[in-house]
Amino acid sequence: MASDPQPILRLSAMQRIERLVFAVAFIGLVLTGIPQRYASEAWTHIPIVIGGGIESLRILHRFFALIFLAEAIYHTLAVGYRWFVIGRRVTMLPGIGAVRDLIGHIGLRKESGDYRFILKFEYLILVIGVLVLGITGLILWSPIAATTTLPGEAIPVARSVHSDHALLTVILVVLIRLGILILWHPNRAAVLADQPVAASDERIRARRRVYIPVALVIAVIVVGGLYAFLSSEQTAISTVPRRQAVIYAPQTVPETGDPHIGEVLWQTLRCAFCHGESANGGIDGEPALRPPELTYAAFYEQVRVGRGEMPAFSDSELPDGYLVHLWAWLTQPVE
């Protein structure tokens, strides 16, 4: 007697939409994320320009991240429904058999033509990716809120892990998809076909009455929590305040003079030319000025007005502030 044909569960319409949404969000995240990771490389110029600049690219990245998160939440609840209400086994996660298949394929020992384990590993990679990238992404999205409970170092760690894990996920998914496209043709329906329906119609109806409200509450709590967390802060001000500085201030007078500056001024102005390198008097009898035998007021007057052979120095040539430095050097005890 021939056995009954095994029922094949085709992908439902919602599952197809899920796959499409997931693929769009994943590709969007990759296209907007990779240029950010390699922002300093010249080749990222084109995707960044296409994205409307780095800030637009970041907004787009967050947009795709939201889609990705929404899809992840829906998928989790849908899997929960299939497991709890319909009673199917959660078979997309790889078990020992899948690991054995993987080792067998790499080791060239087995040629079964059964590539379902590939899909299971891909699924595991994506589940881990959603968890790691989701958590680290949320930390980066609202770093101030995150550091109210996490140490500050969590932010650079999250940034590093987010970037590296995204690269890891992309590499694996792209390689696996390439393999699926060129070499392997695993039948996803066959994977799902392993899932025997264990529950009766009454049981399904009973469980649905429990699951749907609970799932809705969970969805509201998770989405509400995410909304609250993501909108909880304005991480940075939109415009860095411009520094105020007095640009043109020729008559700035310091409270105390710096003898080092005074010494340099002595050499660079014409002082040393007449009064000697060390202000110890000139060869034509110009007076020694170190230490000066006059008050600062008299010194100031003489510089500004001049006397005899000594020319007057204007305040544009020798500002008042520089005279204070000059005086500090002249009055500094000679070693």
């Binding site: 500056i261 340099v264 040539e317």
Partner: protein, 379 residues
């Protein structure tokens, strides 16, 4: 009688001749003896008046301008005896100024100075044109006469080599930018230059340029400023002398703020970004060392305050997100170090396994195809 009259006339004539000779001699003495009048185009001719220590020109504004020239000062300037092209004459810089001088339309001393500085272009065309492109040139064209001309920085007659000694550079800028100079002189850079004559620290022109000085208030200047700091702080040989990490720039570019700013610089330097650049955290002219104890404790204490300038709601531990400019290690931010190490291993290993999976399958298929071909040939 006639004889007496003749004698008197003769004596009178002699007296008059003698008086004439004396007056002439006195006049000649007053004019420098019998020295010839100098050529009107010569320096000596100019100095007949301008060597006078009290020569002053009164302008319509009521201001006075000293027009006394000390020939010794001129001779010791770069345009004097040491000039390889030969000492300049007054007329080289003051053409068409023969006496009587042409009438100036300037009302004030400053107007006169601005009117006159274009003469520098005669010999220093390149520097002059670059100065026209500078913020000083731009302001002068806008009528902001306080902006510097060639003469304001280099002097009129007492022109010395502008970067000898090196401190002269910043002292020159400080004459107009006194408030900024006062900040700079107490900074790590300013103290190094002015107190220690350290040739490695930047003077004003190392950051702002020389003649084509860019307006530092622009967005483009701000966005490009990390590259400016990197010119010294990414220089291994230079930083090694001070035990300063050259990772400061790379670590900045690797993190969020730096990567954004570098992108802005490449893509749209005039677009405003709210990401911090070096001077937002370290200060502009008042930059202090972070290697000394005071600096480290000061920075740690004020880091949160610094962060809150742009992140006003920053939580108390938020500033710990900044890991500094040193690469993470088992001792310095171990969590980050281990995360980086984990993925440095995981990514190539995962790539290897996935590649191996594909490669093994390709090999298997090739073998199968060959064996099938062998079987076909056998038939």
């Amino acid at each position: 009688m006639m004889g007496k009259a003749k004698t008197s006339l003769l004596i009178l004539g002699i007296v008059l001749i003698l008086m004439g000779v004396m007056v002439g001699a006195a006049a000649a003495q007053e004019q420098g003896g019998d020295a010839p009048t100098p050529d009107p185009a010569s320096d000596a001719y100019c100095l007949l008046c301008h060597a006078d220590p009290d020569q002053v020109w009164m302008l319509p504004s009521g201001e006075s301008l000293s027009v006394t020239i000390d020939p010794t000062v001129l001779a010791h300037s770069v345009h004097g005896e040491s000039n390889p092209e030969g000492a300049l004459a007054c007329a080289d810089c003051h053409p068409n100024f023969r006496y009587p001088h042409p009438v100036s339309l300037s009302q004030t001393v400053r107007e006169f100075q601005v009117e006159r500085y274009a003469v520098c272009r005669t010999c220093h065309e390149e520097q002059y044109m670059r100065a026209q492109d500078s913020v000083h040139g731009e302001f002068l064209r806008e009528g902001r006469l306080e902006a510097a001309t060639c003469v304001d920085c280099h002097g009129g007659h007492d022109i010395q080599t502008p970067d000898e000694p090196r401190q002269r550079i910043s002292l020159t800028c400080g004459r107009c930018h006194g408030a900024i100079f006062e900040e700079y002189r107490t900074s790590i850079h300013g103290a190094g230059l002015l107190d220690e004559n350290n040739p490695d620290v930047p003077t004003c022109i190392d950051c702002h340029g020389v003649h084509d000085i860019e307006n530092p208030a622009t967005t483009a200047f701000r966005t490009g400023s990390p590259q400016m700091c990197a010119e010294c702080h990414a220089d291994d040989a230079l930083m090694e002398r001070y035990d300063i990490s050259t990772q400061v720039f790379d670590s900045y570019v690797a993190e969020f703020h730096g990567s954004t700013v570098v992108l802005f610089e490449h893509e749209s330097p005039d677009a405003v970004t709210n990401k911090a650049v070096c001077f937002d955290c370290h200060g502009v002219h008042n930059i202090q060392a972070v290697s000394d104890e005071a600096g480290v404790s000061s920075i740690r204490e004020t880091l949160l305050t610094t962060c809150r300038q742009c992140h006003p709601d920053a939580s108390a531990d938020f500033s710990a997100a900044w890991i500094g400019h040193y690469a993470p290690s088992p001792d310095n931010h171990p969590a980050l170090f281990f995360a980086n190490t984990l993925y440095a291993v995981l990514i190539p290993v995962a790539f290897g396994i996935a590649s191996l999976l594909i490669l093994s399958d390709v090999i298997r298929r090739l073998r199968r195809r060959r064996s099938q071909r062998g079987n076909d040939n056998g038939i």
